[in-house]
Symmetry: C2
Subunit: 186 residues, 2 copies
């Protein structure tokens, strides 16, 4: 059975386990098996938080190695781009030769988000926008940093969210990725 | 000659090429060759920005494939975590079996940065901090998201910056990574 690593910042939600169960059930409906970071059962040591963090990282890397594909939730997280852990995992999967699929519950393009949300954006010419530190904003009509857009096997799903409270838990975009994977495997 | 891919958000600076030249010269002093994203000479098409962005992504991936190691500047970028393009490239390098090294020009630990910079952080118990969306803050005594801390072959360099204007261009932490790589190769 095709195994899919389920990457995304929903692991930081208070009901992270529940969201993972929903995702895994949806995978099952499409004939896939979902591997969720919180599936890992680890013996953590209360006296060594750093070692615990690194143990979780190793366990997640192992799950990605076991997986045949990855579906990443790249909804912007604490800023205009996706969670860096998710970005890392997309890169890792790509390096391991596993197909990458992604969705965002923010339908805006990267430049527009940056213009709307970063402080002190300036337009220096038709094409050139900079932030308050005079650092360029990417202007390629893409969804997030170009490395992320470049990693996927099918167009990143931009899902228009109806209820903002569902920003990290709405799964319609995720389901579209399952369909993309299904088509990819045909 | 050992080739190092030079990842980091300095590519968004107005003097990005100059910083790349400095980094490559430093690599040379240690007997390495630096590969910088802006080394790529690409024929961009003014009418197709999306294809240009994806072409840059492919060219960067190719440079990482050519490299023997990666040194990533994970100084926080437009938020509390590093640039997502850099995080992706660390993952890609790791997946390709290339050793990863990293430095940050922000000496604070991840939790401290989050507490100081995110709006509406709440402490729910001794160990549990959440942001204004009730999403957990990582509390492992690490430098950034645990996947990044888990990717490196030597401890991430936390460099204490003297001049804040040098946040993305100061290279002392980078030089420490060159020393780490030198030791790694011994």
């Amino acid at each position: 059975m095709t195994k899919i690593y389920l990457a995304g910042p929903e692991v930081f939600l208070q009901n992270a386990t529940e969201i993972g169960e929903y995702k895994k059930k949806l995978c099952g409906l499409y004939g896939f098996e979902g591997l969720y970071p919180l599936d890992n059962v680890l013996e953590l040591n209360a006296n060594n938080p750093q070692e615990n963090g690194l143990m979780i990282a190793r366990a997640n890397e192992k799950l990605i190695q076991e997986a045949d594909a990855i579906i990443a939730n790249i909804t912007p997280f604490r800023g205009c781009s996706c969670d860096v852990g998710t970005a890392y995992e997309m890169g890792l999967a790509r390096g391991l030769g596993k197909p990458v699929f992604a969705y965002s519950n923010d339908e805006r393009f990267f430049l527009q988000r940056n213009i709307e949300e970063l402080p002190g954006v300036n337009r220096l010419s038709d094409e050139l926008f900079v932030d308050h530190q005079q650092m360029t904003l990417e202007n390629f009509g893409l969804i997030d940093n170009l490395m992320l857009d470049g990693s996927v096997e099918a167009p990143i799903i931009r899902h228009q969210l109806v209820d903002k409270a569902q920003k990290y838990s709405e799964l319609l975009g995720f389901e579209q990725c399952l369909k993309q994977l299904q088509k990819y495997l045909e």
